[in-house]
Symmetry: C2
Subunit: 153 residues, 2 copies
DNA sequence: TAAAAAACGTTGGACACCCCAACGAAGATC
DNA sequence: GATCTTCGTTGGGGTGTCCAACGTTTTTTA
């Protein structure tokens, strides 16, 4: 009964929460390096993609689409606008809104970002075989799901 | 060729990097809530465990053991010391060093943290079957590995 | 139609985790 | 004895996430 406990720190390091933090950090670093050339980061990629998806749209629409915080959306769009990747013009039909639209440069950049993102993700999962990658992503997607398993609806 | 691109944002959201960020965030939130009762966070757990593992030890030893930044270690130990979970006494044999030692309360707290951490991790992987959990953690551990696949050492 | 409610963009602030540079004090090395 | 290294500490930066409040404008309600 007075057994030696297995090393407590090693136990922590084997926890999913710890491993997820590590792996996510690695992903962030890889993506950050990949996007550095464009001077952008992950959120910029997501917002640019959202603008491409739902055409000219108000900032609030992007907030709903992406789930990003409105405050953060302001900063992201400031960057994208400064880089000429999107235009931000007042909506004449609703003077509260700004109309965010993709520029030609924005579309080009989005294509590059998609490719860079794919490459970074390939590097991220380089240690896995293709079959393992598929399996891993499938399981990961279910873990990432926010859904609460409510008491049997 | 003028095919409709699949939604760009959905594509991003299916990337491992995105999913890892999401899942890691969920884990951080779950662990944060679990540890809130103790007034501690994840790094405190790790450092406390490290102290338990390698007995009375200097801060530099903990830095090497955990890989944490020395600056952050100072803050973490400040918290742990204030909570009476560790003692921090000058080393008479080397006046540069502080000897960090676990208190009885620290050992008790570490036990509670381990249990709370396990519970939070169970909730984190609740969507998976036991077999899937095992598989997921095994794959995740390999993804989290920092190791660069150097050009064949 | 006037008042209340909601939506919009913006600003300020906070938190968790991660990392780097530099410093004075003390010990180790030559 | 001078140099180099280690130790703890302080100061700062960066990414991603989130909340509270405000003035303005539109929509809804009484």
């Amino acid at each position: 009964m007075t057994q030696h406990h297995e090393p407590a720190l090693d136990r922590i390091r084997a926890l999913p929460s710890w491993l997820l933090n590590r792996a996510a950090g690695r992903g962030r670093r890889l993506l950050g390096e990949a996007f550095a050339h464009e001077g952008l980061r992950m959120p910029h990629h997501a917002v640019l993609a959202a603008v491409a998806d739902i055409g000219p749209v108000a900032q609030a629409g992007l907030v709903r689409k992406t789930g990003f915080d409105p405050k953060d959306m302001v900063g992201i769009l400031n960057d994208l606008q400064r880089a000429r990747l999107v235009t931000r013009t007042p909506d004449p039909d609703d003077r509260r809104k700004n109309v965010i639209a993709l520029t030609a440069e924005g579309r080009d950049c989005l294509g590059r970002l998609a490719q860079l993102g794919d490459e970074a993700n390939r590097a991220l999962l380089a240690a896995l075989t293709p079959a393992e990658r598929e399996q891993f992503v499938a399981l990961l997607a279910r873990v990432a799901e926010e859904r609460e398993e409510g008491p049997v609806g």
